[in-house]
Symmetry: C2
Subunit: 205 residues, 2 copies
């Protein structure tokens, strides 16, 4: 099997899925951009699903393996949190199209394009973050908060990035993620210049 051809097909399909959505892309479109006939494309892949499936699965599984490999339970939780956030962005930057294509497929998927197995990998990824937050709370490094809610907060900031990130912009994804991490840890509120008193500005809730 000419693996160069396979990789080319994955790359082209991935970018097209990400840009136009799974349903907006035909086998003809993929073949045309690869410079091959539809017959040749069908020789490798019986349908679009068979192209998307490994891409989507791969992205979800790989992101977990990537952050897990960079995690180190002997580090302070704040450092582990930073690694989690920054390495997620690093992965996203390196495999941007696969990520977007996979994410689009994941959420718009009417049936179950390997969705169950992907959810298992996604759960491991999210659980690792919650474990880090829990460790930080127990060690007194992080405030005592609802770990699920705090996890959603952190995930939202990095998961939303593919929607607006501009690779040609001044900051690379991991740099933005690093700034996010600073803001998430220390908050947006200004610290009091001198006094240690805190005025409560919370709306009645």
């Amino acid at each position: 099997m000419p693996s160069g051809r396979i990789i080319q097909i994955y790359e082209v399909a991935c970018r097209q899925f990400a840009q136009r959505g799974f349903d907006g892309v035909s086998m003809r479109d993929i073949a045309a951009e690869c410079g091959i006939s539809k017959a040749t494309l069908y020789h490798y892949f019986p349908d679009k699903d068979s192209i998307l499936r490994p891409l989507a699965m791969g992205a979800t599984k790989s992101i977990y393996l990537h952050v897990a490999r960079h995690d180190d339970v002997t580090l302070p939780a704040v450092d582990r949190l930073r690694r989690f956030v920054v390495e997620t962005a690093t992965f996203f930057e390196a495999f941007r199209w696969a990520w977007i294509a996979g994410s689009t497929a994941f959420w718009s998927d009417p049936e179950a394009r390997a969705r169950k197995e992907r959810i298992a990998w996604r759960d491991r990824y999210e659980q690792l973050l919650r474990d880090i937050l829990q460790a930080g709370i127990e060690a007194g490094e992080l405030r005592s908060t609802d770990v699920k809610i705090a996890g959603r907060l952190v995930l939202g900031t990095i998961n939303w990035m593919p929607r607006w990130y501009n690779p040609a912009g001044p900051l690379k994804a991991p740099e933005i993620a690093g700034q996010f991490c600073d803001m998430l840890l220390d908050g947006l509120r200004a610290e009091a210049p001198k006094k240690a008193t805190r005025r409560n500005v919370k709306a009645a809730d």
Copy 2:
């Protein structure tokens, strides 16, 4: 025009688009769930686009008008920020299907289903948030940060909510948004136990 019928069609289409994606829904599906013939449906709407367009446009425009109506420039920026975040969640909770259907259409839309005009409304919404953050920095209420990055941070947390929010869960969307706001303002990091690092809010002057 029997407006009850129109509203029913919008509601059914909206939920179907949100659950299965725009391309996963046919005019036949919409007609079937409404309990009307395809001919009757086509009497009101020539195609799916004509159903989605006002829904998607409406959601984006309405969210801006909703948060803008609740904004009050005479309040401290931290209170304005809280209103922005909580009212976004309130809107989302009330118009959940329209939001998801519109968002799905927005991002997977290959052509320009009224995309340009929607972007203009979306820009107003995001600019209001940046204005609030900028006002907070100038008043010394918020740390001096990159307003664009901080804005992305805040938007990510609330824009990601439709992906995981469970209406049957213990917390309503505005409550979760309120907790997000606390975390965003004061950070996840624990305060030093002895040192006077508690945060304060400087009055604007």
